[in-house]
Amino acid sequence: MAITAVPIQPVKTVSGNQPAARRFIEDATQTFKLGTPVAIAAADGGIIAWNGTTVLTGNGAVVGISYEAASNLASTGLGAPQPNQPVTGLGAAVTFGSVPNEASAKNIPHGAPLNDGRVGIFLAAFQDTIFSATLGNNGNTANWADSLLSTGGALAGLTIDSGANFWYVDLNKTNEVRIVGRDLRDPIGAGNRVLFQFLSTAIQQL
């Protein structure tokens, strides 16, 4: 059965602390969803969706999991506040219509979500945060088997599903994450979630 994943989310930490999270400027024209593995663009430092293939410890590798969706900004970090400055942008990514005789003025729908030119991510670094994601195998659902833990955890990768465009733990890969257990919130069966940590050899430390 073709897999339909759910957003990756942090569920606990090894240390018992809060999952390490930071906000970075969002790169231009990004449309990734909540729970997406993200990287940092070499050109301008903006957060971009991970390409799914770069497994390094340097630039282009995963830096974390987004905890909010991208805002499709017109330029990288549009409106993000600089130190000691207020937000210089609109404060929202959604506008409508036009303003008579004021070409640069914008109508913000009342109640439109706030936007400060940045996007928040849970850091993959330090291998402290344990994430949960749907288990799959090369585009299909997969069953969790406790035997996967027999060698200290199964190595796997991350792949985006073709339906919901969320990312899942892919048993068809072996180079990105280590599965460390079953997500006990799900009943045993196809499409359940597993807990994983990023491999230190496959992330960019921040």
Partner: protein
């Protein structure tokens, strides 16, 4: 992390005086609240929307039908509150052995830091008002061509502004080119205030009352605004600026030594400071180490809804 090794001098009594900057040196009096309209907020952000009235009421010839005109809705200005916070940590041993109670005073340093954040963020609304700080019309706070909702019709209606504006349908609150603080510069500023229209071109009651300057300009300001005769001439003319009842205020958080600004009384301009969460401190002890963590935080935003009632020149 403050530990006994890094603050060894507090461990032994006998020091006559600790010259502690955040205790012995007074911070300048609050300045942002004398310039900005300070309001409170209970939301993540505050949206403000502009609306213009109708144009000039025309004659209705006898038996002719009345002309209808519509109000104009303008854009939106959103104030997005940011959080500001700072923390300090001290070991339990240091706090217990501190003979002067100095380490316990750290929250006072935090408050000073918090107050500075308010001042500098607010001042940067003006410092950056020539570039990145935008008002509801989508252009910089101080601009030679603020577009009017009424467009060219508004500037056709507004009386006597032909020599004041730089483009039809717009109005300036900045000279072109920028001018130094001077007698003629202040006159130019007053003229732009006097002719200031609303978005339909109807003159508005707005009068500059305060010139905001960096410390370096206070001597010039005193000469220009305080001289009984016209400054820098030997003709014994009256100082015509005396009748304008202008005062100047030094703002110690301005970054330029030549930029200067003018504002009307608060009720006539839309510079705003929203307090979402007042300066607040909290502390807790780490159970394992018994170290104390102290944090101070606040949330606020500052900006300008409209340019009306403000004026700025970025020096020459």
């Amino acid at each position: 992390m403050l530990v006994r090794g890094s603050f060894a001098q507090v461990l032994a009594p006998g020091v006559h005086h600790w010259f502690v900057h955040f205790l012995d040196l007074q911070m300048r009096r609050e300045e942002y609240s004398t310039i900005f309209n300070v309001e409170t907020s209970a939301q993540s952000f505050e949206d403000e929307i502009e609306a213009a009235g109708v144009g000039v009421m025309p004659e209705k010839p006898e038996a002719d039908a009345v002309l209808y005109d519509d109000m104009v809705q303008g854009g939106t200005k959103r104030y997005l509150h940011l959080s500001y916070a700072i923390g300090s940590r001290a070991s339990w041993e240091l706090i217990e052995d501190d003979q002067y109670g100095l380490i316990r005073q750290v929250p006072k340093a935090h408050v000073r830091s918090a107050q500075f954040a308010r001042e500098i963020v607010s001042a940067n609304v003006l410092n950056l008002g020539f570039s990145t700080i935008l008002t509801i019309d989508g252009v910089s706070l101080f601009n030679t061509q603020h577009p009017l909702l009424g467009g060219a019709t508004a500037t056709n209606v507004a009386p006597g502004i032909a020599n004041v504006i730089f483009a039809s349908g717009t109005y300036p609150n900045r000279p072109s080119p920028d001018v130094d603080l001077s007698f003629t510069g202040v006159q130019l500023m007053i003229n732009q205030f006097e002719r200031m229209p609303d978005s339909q071109g109807l003159p508005v009651r707005v009068k500059p009352t305060t010139i905001l300057i960096p410390p370096e300009l206070k001597f010039i300001a005193r000469e220009i605004l305080g001289s009984p005769g016209k400054p820098y001439t030997a003709d014994n003319e009256l100082n015509a600026l005396l009748g304008e009842d202008l005062k100047f205020q030094v703002v110690h958080y301005f970054t330029s030594q030549s930029a200067w600004f003018a504002v009307a009384d608060k009720e006539y301009h839309q510079l705003k400071f929203f307090e979402r969460h007042p300066i607040d401190s909290d502390y807790d002890d780490d159970f394992d180490t018994r170290s104390t963590k102290i944090i101070t935080f606040q949330r606020f935003s500052a900006g300008a809804t409209s340019w009306v009632g403000t004026w700025g020149s970025n020096g020459p």
